[in-house]
């Protein structure tokens, strides 16, 4: 059962009868105070405890008479009158449980807050309609507004129960985002998503508005957040409001559970990992705690089948949240979110001299050790002095940690990397005039803390199409020591006004961003405009906005990259139509065009005239290499014409349209639900670098002449590597009864483009005695595509209901009609270019078994699992 939200996902706090409206003197003081200090509103007195309960059915759009409501804490029972209301009394202000027997035998028991005498508490018998996320209570009609209705354009909200059991995603709710319009999976994305043509790194994932370092564990095997910690997910695919920062693509905002009535938990077992969640209320319902986590054991399960030298992925994650409400005005939250992934592989040189059995010669002798982790800790304080004002303060510490050790050919690089920030953040929301004029604002100060040490390997001649990592006499690569430790500031603030009335809704806003390393300062306008024809249920929507995102710290490293990089920019334009019909159906049609500017791209030509060499602290000098570097730094403190490797030269745009139709089903109801989405798009990028022509290959130029020539931007727009022209998703679920549920998902998508291989280099490189053939690519970048991808998955859930909860045994059948989907092309460095090299590789959606006659029988991949909720 879902209930209306107050801002930022906290439990709804209903209005106050003794509002400023009933006391003019207090109203003036309050508004003056707010005007002066923006987020200070006089605290209003709380007194009487007689109030009214209303039981309301959103589906029939009426209040229900003769319904029994029991307040569990006081053990008192009430029945609604013909108006659907009842008088009730509680001894003290506070949060109470309203157990309500719904006509037809259903039960809902929301926890709602009683603040003042005369207050009208509304109990919804089912999920309110998506736009009804506000609650009007009390004689004053003061509204507590949910942020969820902040924007209609390019926003899709999905509840956990809608996406958790989508077939083919191994139970991970967040993978269900791929089924929404405007979203597509990148090639080898490992769970990442592309939103309207923006690179995956341009999206931001937030959990209760807090940062998470990455959304999926290694290879997309699992998400990093426990399913049952999630309450719902908002995905903003474009023109999103000013309260979101530092993303030029899309925003995925995960809202966690914010209500715990009793001790309980949840656990799921699968072949490669187990997760568990525990939760319990605190201090008679004044708060709660939730702890959840997951640990993988893939490395144990697969141990007998894994070759020596390979350590399969091992990962864990954990989330912990505490909430405590001191009184109706003051509440506090504590958060911990963290995850860690490890993976290692080493390809030993065990000569068989059989190219068909040996690993690719490119990797013989190669090794990779990869660790990634992140953690976020936060304290959140919410002050709600009145129903029309709320202020939230966050103290956040977030760190992304990675360790990389790699070896290929004669080169070896080791790098450890910390990239995080400490932040202070304040957000407020003030309903200036009922629900018609609302002001949202806030600011954030981040202190980026960035630390990298180790070494980078980079190619010496950027125009060498096949640099040889195995050549020791004339090396094609160089090792660049990296030792960066710096802090920098990022400041951001926003304001957003919402005007509503007569079906018209206008939300102008702006966002200010300041990026200290380059003193880059921007003010971005953003806004949406919509008009709803109430009788027809039709809404016309349009929106636009400018967005900025700070570059990856690796690319603005002062010692090995370009410290002059500016923020990347995105401009979003969107227009759409939303139609609600038959109460449970929603249809949406949207068109968009997004521009991307100042994108950070690899730039082998950009130079820095001179820079001061990095001096390692004496306390950090531990090896002979450190000593040599230090001596070199003292002898030659300046480096001239150093290559910086990255520039802001990239541009791109994406355009497309989306169609979405959804059949809703309220939680706790039986029947069918689902959605159909169709997404057409094209995404073009341009790195604006110089592409060497055939004529230039025959020219002998001095280094300076080549520098001049390299400024000639002759690169052309090309399809993005993740471009997919058409993506279609059909998701259907049918809740038969308390014990059975079935679902299907059909997905169709155009394959991503690739650059055709047109030849090889003749085998110029040799590794451990084996000749390596490097592919030569066509000049027509990303000009070919594989065949379209489509498959059907089904899932059957059997629920075993008990007094303490339920057990759920589920079976998923992937790729039911055995489509052999092409996943990409694989180049073997052991062989020259031929009709068989490169060869097509296929998706893992089917299994094959040899049968008599030398044939192979294919059958669908089947996944089963057990879920227990108590």
């Amino acid at each position: 059962m879902e209930f209306p939200e107050s801002n930022w996902g906290t439990k709804a706090v209903v209005g106050l009868e003794d509002s400023p409206r009933s006391n003019p003197k207090k109203r003036r003081i309050t508004r003056w105070t707010v005007a002066i200090f923006l987020f200070l509103v006089a605290t209003l007195p709380l007194s009487a405890l007689n109030f009214r309960i209303r039981v309301y059915d959103p589906e029939s759009d009426r209040s229900l008479p003769d319904v029994q409501v029991i307040i569990l804490e006081t053990k008192t029972r009430y029945y609604t009158d013909q108006k659907g209301e009842a008088d009730a009394t509680v001894p003290d202000p506070g949060i109470y449980t309203f157990r309500t027997i719904v006509p037809g035998g259903g039960l809902v028991q929301p926890r709602l807050q009683v603040n003042v005498p005369g207050q009208l508490i509304t109990v919804f018998t089912s999920e309110p309609k998506s736009e009804q996320t506000r609650q009007t209570v009390g004689a004053g009609g003061i509204t507590v507004r949910g942020r969820r209705d902040d924007t209609k354009l390019s926003r899709y909200n999905v509840r956990l129960d809608e996406i958790k059991r989508i077939p083919g995603q191994f139970g991970d709710a967040m993978k269900g985002l791929e089924t929404l319009p405007g979203v597509s999976p990148p090639p080898f994305g490992g769970g990442d998503i592309v939103i309207r043509g923006a690179e995956p790194r341009s999206n931001t994932y937030l959990l209760d508005d807090l940062p998470i370092g990455y959304a999926f564990h290694f290879g997309g095997l699992n998400q990093v957040v426990h399913n049952d910690l999630i309450k719902s997910i908002d995905i903003y695919t474009g023109a999103y409001p000013a309260n979101f920062s530092n993303a030029i693509g899309g925003v995925i905002n995960i809202e966690t559970v914010d209500e715990v009535e009793k001790f309980g938990g949840h656990t799921t077992f699968s072949l490669w990992a187990t997760n568990v969640l525990f939760q319990a209320p605190l201090d008679d319902g004044k708060g709660y705690w939730i702890g959840s986590g997951r640990v993988s054991y893939l490395h144990l399960v697969l141990r007998p089948y894994i070759p020596d030298g390979m350590s399969p992925p091992f990962y864990w994650d954990g989330q912990f949240k505490i909430h405590y409400r001191f009184n109706p005005e003051h509440a506090i939250y504590f958060y911990f979110i963290g995850a860690k992934d490890t993976f290692a592989i080493e390809v030993e040189d065990t000569p068989e001299w059989d190219p068909t059995n040996e690993p690719d010669p490119l990797y013989i002798g190669a090794a990779l050790d990869l660790n990634a982790a992140f953690h976020t800790e936060a304290v959140r304080y919410i002050w709600q002095p009145a129903s029309n004002f709320q202020n939230r303060i966050d103290l956040i510490y977030h760190d992304n940690i990675s360790y990389f050790k790699g070896k290929i050919g004669v080169y070896e690089a080791v790098q450890s990397h910390h990239n995080g920030y400490a932040a202070f953040k304040d957000d407020f929301s003030w309903a200036i005039y009922k629900e018609n004029v609302i002001l949202d604002g806030g600011f954030e100060y981040r202190n980026f803390q960035y630390r990298t040490n180790g070494s980078n390997i980079r190619v010496i001649d950027p125009e060498d199409p096949n640099p040889d990592p195995y050549d020791t006499e004339n090396p094609d690569f160089e090792t660049v020591p990296v030792d960066d430790r710096h802090r920098s500031s990022y400041m951001t603030g926003y304001g957003m006004l919402s005007f509503k009335g007569g079906g018209l809704e206008f939300k102008p806003g702006f966002r200010y961003d300041y990026f200290e390393p380059t003193n880059h300062e921007v003010v971005d306008p953003r806004g949406t405009l919509s008009y709803t024809f109430e009788k027809m249920g039709t809404t016309l929507i349009a929106g636009a906005g400018t967005y900025h995102q700070t570059p990856d710290p690796r690319t603005y490293s002062p010692s090995s990259a370009n410290p002059y990089l500016n923020m990347e920019e995105g401009r979003h334009y969107g227009i759409g139509l939303e139609q609600v019909f038959l109460k449970q159906w929603t249809m949406k049609l949207e068109g968009y065009r997004h521009y991307f500017e100042s994108l950070v791209v690899d730039d082998p030509y950009i130079l820095k005239a001179a820079r001061l060499r990095e001096f390692r602290d004496l306390k950090d000098v531990r090896t002979q290499r450190h000593i040599d570097e230090l001596i070199e730094a003292y002898q030659e403190p300046l480096v001239y014409n150093d290559r910086m490797g990255f520039s802001n030269d990239g541009t791109g745009f994406s355009e497309g349209y989306e169609f979405y139709i959804k059949k809703n089903l309220a939680p706790g109801k039986y029947g069918w639900y689902g959605w159909f989405s169709y997404y057409w798009s094209r995404t073009l990028y341009n790195e604006h670098q110089h592409i060497i022509s055939d004529e230039e290959k025959d020219m002998v130029l001095s280094a300076d002449e080549r520098r001049i020539l390299n400024q000639y931007d002759n690169s052309k727009d090309h399809y993005a590597s993740f471009d997919r022209t058409v993506v279609v998703n059909v998701v259907l679920g049918y809740k038969i009864d308390r014990e059975w549920q079935v679902g299907l998902r059909w997905n169709y998508r155009t394959s991503q483009p690739y650059t055709p291989v047109v030849g090889d280099d003749g085998g110029r490189q040799v590794n451990h005695g084996r000749v390596i053939f490097d592919p030569e690519y066509s000049d027509l970048k990303y000009s070919a595509r594989l065949k379209p991808y489509h498959r059907l998955d089904i899932r059957i859930d059997r629920f075993l209901n008990y007094e303490w909860g339920y057990g759920n045994v589920f079976v998923e059948v992937l790729n039911v009609y055995l489509k052999k989907n092409e996943a990409g092309l694989s180049w073997s460095s052991a062989q020259p270019y031929s009709a068989r090299n490169p060869r097509t590789i296929y998706d893992l959606g089917t299994l094959e078994q040899p049968v008599a006659g030398g044939k192979r029988m294919r059958f669908p991949l089947i996944n089963a699992g057990l879920e227990v909720k108590f």
Partner: protein, 174 residues
């Protein structure tokens, strides 16, 4: 007008102005790359004839200083055979450069069959040759005994000079 209304109008006005006005303090900043490239273009070598004559002048000087009879003519003849050119009379630096700068063949630094040599690439050769002959002069190698063994093509420093000029070297100031 009530204070609240004034504040409301003020706040709304600020928002509407911000909504239509965007700013980016980097839009009007000078492009770092463009400055570098303008510098390179403005300072690129143009008077290749003078550069050539200066370079060959150093070679002639070394030949003259060796005291070997006909050393200068021998040098010109050697250049004719390497570059497949015919040097007119008088067979001095100017005549040699007139021939060299229009030579169909030019030493190929990469030996990969390159066919086109830019002005800058020729300047690389000429400057490195001048550097070589000047070094020989300063090192006292332009003598009758040592001169016959001198050749820039066997000199590591000359090769390094060429490599630098063709890959990393620049006239960009530090």
């Amino acid at each position: 007008m009530r204070p609240f209304h004034r504040i409301f109008i003020l706040v709304s006005a600020i928002f509407l102005i911000q909504f239509v006005v965007s700013c980016d303090n980097k839009e009007n900043e000078t492009d770092f790359e463009t400055i570098q490239i303008l510098y390179l273009i403005l300072n690129r070598p143009t008077d290749i004839q003078s550069i050539c004559e200066s370079s060959q002048g150093s070679a002639f000087q070394c030949a003259t200083d060796s005291g070997i009879f006909g050393a200068t003519e021998l040098y010109v003849a050697t250049m004719e055979s390497i570059y497949l050119v015919q040097v007119g009379s008088p067979r001095d630096e100017t005549a040699l450069c007139n021939a060299l700068l229009n030579a169909d063949t030019f030493p190929d630094p990469t030996n990969d069959g390159s066919t086109y040599y830019s002005t800058g690439s020729k300047v690389c050769y000429l400057n490195c040759q001048k550097d070589y002959w000047d070094r020989m002069q300063n090192a006292g190698n332009c003598t009758s005994t040592k001169y016959p063994n001198l050749s820039p093509f066997n000199d590591d420093t000359y090769q390094t000079c060429l490599t630098d000029c063709f890959t990393e070297g620049t006239i960009l100031p530090p």
